[in-house]
Amino acid sequence: MAEETTLTLPERLQGVEPVRSIRTPATLEYAYSPGKAASLFLQEVAKKRLVGQRCPVCKKVYVPPRGSCPTDGVPTEEQVELPHVGTVTSFCVVNVQFYGQAMELPYVSALILLDGSDIPIMHLIQETKAEDVHMGQRVEAVWVPDEEITATLESIRYFRPTGEPDADWDTYKDNV
């Protein structure tokens, strides 16, 4: 413990409730561009389609695509349409309220490996209890109503369990 400092205060400050903290908010305003590959992905999302890109060298399918393969350093130009079903590879149960949070607690954020892809996307898991979410669980996308679908991943409201048996470990072990 630091030693308590005894201050000599001018009379006008004596017996006055002291200020102990001050507001120091910061706001950063950006115009964010996702680039060509992810723009294409989002434009396909607006059509209710999930389209990744395959690396011509290692054959991995990236979603959302970034336009190149991080392993081979080559452009990924082949478009691959993916199903709206995948496997939970990892998840986090959120129990702590934080600024700007819109979700009711607890909720589950998970990494979901869409079938046929080689990198998981992050999304919400709902229509199940938080404690029932687990690795290997099969889940499917629940989209917002068609007329509300736009070029954002928020067009998928969340994923929910399909009720299928869990995926084999071998099918997602490279993505944990």
């Binding site: 001018p10 903290s21 910061a26 950063l28 950006y30 115009a31 561009s33 434009q43």
Partner: protein
Amino acid sequence: MADVEVLSAPLIVEYPFSRTTGPVIGAFFTALREGFVVGVRSKDGRVLVPPFEYDPVTSEALDEVVEVGDAGEVLTWSWQAETLEAQPLDRPFAWALIKLDGADTGLLHVVDAGDPAKMRTGARVQARWKDEREGHIGDIECFELAGES
């Protein structure tokens, strides 16, 4: 992919920080809320405004909070010709280091001078206080050139 329309969207990041002040800086903000200014006396007898918690030369804890004036003189200044959002004033103004009466150091604040031709080093300025104060540097809305208000 040459014909892809590249998207763009606003991305606004907000940090709703608050900072604890400690006793010495806290006294400075408390005084602002009460409508006056304090500094702290350093070990060599100077009055530092805004106050430091520790002596800038000897590093000893400082504990003598002293009141200074809310008017003073411009030590140095710079003109903000085009204002940005969240700056203290929405019209062109001067940033200035202001040595308040009774202080030995400069306090960074703004001078609502209207015209850079009216600003000069050594100019007398007077604080314009907000009516509703919360213990924040913005409790002084700005300084104005003496004899102009």
